[in-house]
Symmetry: C2
Subunit: 187 residues, 2 copies
DNA sequence: AGAGAAACGGACTCGCGAGTCCGGTTCGCT
DNA sequence: AGCGAACCGGACTCGCGAGTCCGTTTCTCT
């Protein structure tokens, strides 16, 4: 027999990556209002190519959201290396503010997109990482005992969407709000 | 001469009010995704009537936003009657959470809609009322000295949009988040 | 009550953007 | 190199919802 498992062509793989990157960039700028043709143009491909990789725009959103959620999880786990859990938490938050300053796409990582199993899993992992980070800070008494990851998610995505919609690009403002959110969780 | 100044017909006035109420209700449920035909149906009038009162959908959004901003201002001024400024602030926030639980339209009062002069003015007034409330609490040392009304606006509208998008209707959750926001401003 | 002006309402137009399709091109294997 | 299959791109379709228009109804003033 030896039927060679259908190899995906190299250009197809490359284009898929280009599309995801372009989508992330355009979503960051325009939020949900991003247009598929613009994403295609930015990726340097045709609309047809976008739709071959992702059956609908929502699938594309989900793909970007997965990337973000994974990124979030890695950040949380990296921060957890800090021996002081409260410091870990607050520097993680500051880093988030810095990285997502003026970025409308951040919201996607938390609450947008299709209910694809892979996305749900990525979110669950991110949630778990965040929970560990917070539990550590609660254990030392630095964080309020009733703090929940869900609350943080709401505050984060809320602030991000609010600032992004207002076209706020000043990093100082993002940092300031991140600080407020952190303080809300202080004991 | 005695050209009588054009009287607006009674039914026109009534319908305008009906449309605003219906719009507020539908926006609360659906957010920006609210459809003009649905608003018209809910008001018990035809689409044409809606468009006679408001040249565009955005004007309608602005009209609702004005109502909300005025409501917000009245609430802030009423709360200021409390002799303890911090108590005034925190009960005002709790009241907000209670009143807007599950309401997608709250965001409108803060950051949506056309830049109509009347809307800008209503917002400025609300902003001023909030500033006075906060300044009082800062003066007694209960609130952090660097607190700014803008920050509160971002947190409030952010949390509201986040919860509303997630279709969260449990009042306990809204109260909980309001509490977190209040705590973020504690000294 | 009756006339005329103003408001009503829903059928209609129009633009926009998501998703489809097929002739032409490029890749990967031999 | 040469061939077949898979991929590319952009012209096309289609549905949806904002905004228009005009024949009909309702109000107000005398």
């Amino acid at each position: 027999m030896a039927v060679p498992a259908a190899r995906t062509r190299a250009d197809a793989v490359r284009n898929r990556a280009l599309v995801i990157d372009a989508a992330a960039a355009v979503f960051a700028e325009k939020g949900e209002a991003a247009l598929v043709p613009e994403i295609a143009a930015r990726a340097g491909v045709g609309k047809g190519t976008v739709y071959r990789c992702f059956p609908t725009k929502d699938h594309l959103v989900a793909a970007v959201a997965i990337e973000r959620a994974r990124w979030f999880e890695r950040g949380a786990r990296a921060a957890a290396a800090d021996p002081d859990p409260w410091a870990a938490f607050s520097t993680f938050m500051a880093g988030l503010a810095e990285a997502h300053c003026g970025d409308r796409g951040m919201i996607f990582s938390m609450s947008q997109g299709l209910d694809l199993p892979e996305l749900l899993e990525a979110r669950a992992d991110a949630h778990e990482a965040l929970r560990e980070l917070m539990d550590g800070a609660i254990a030392t008494g630095a964080m309020r005992a009733d703090a929940r990851p869900e609350d943080l998610k709401v505050l984060l995505s809320g602030v991000a969407s609010s600032l992004a919609t207002a076209e706020e690009r000043d990093p100082a403002v993002w940092r300031r709000l991140a600080q407020l959110v952190v303080d809300a969780f202080r004991r």
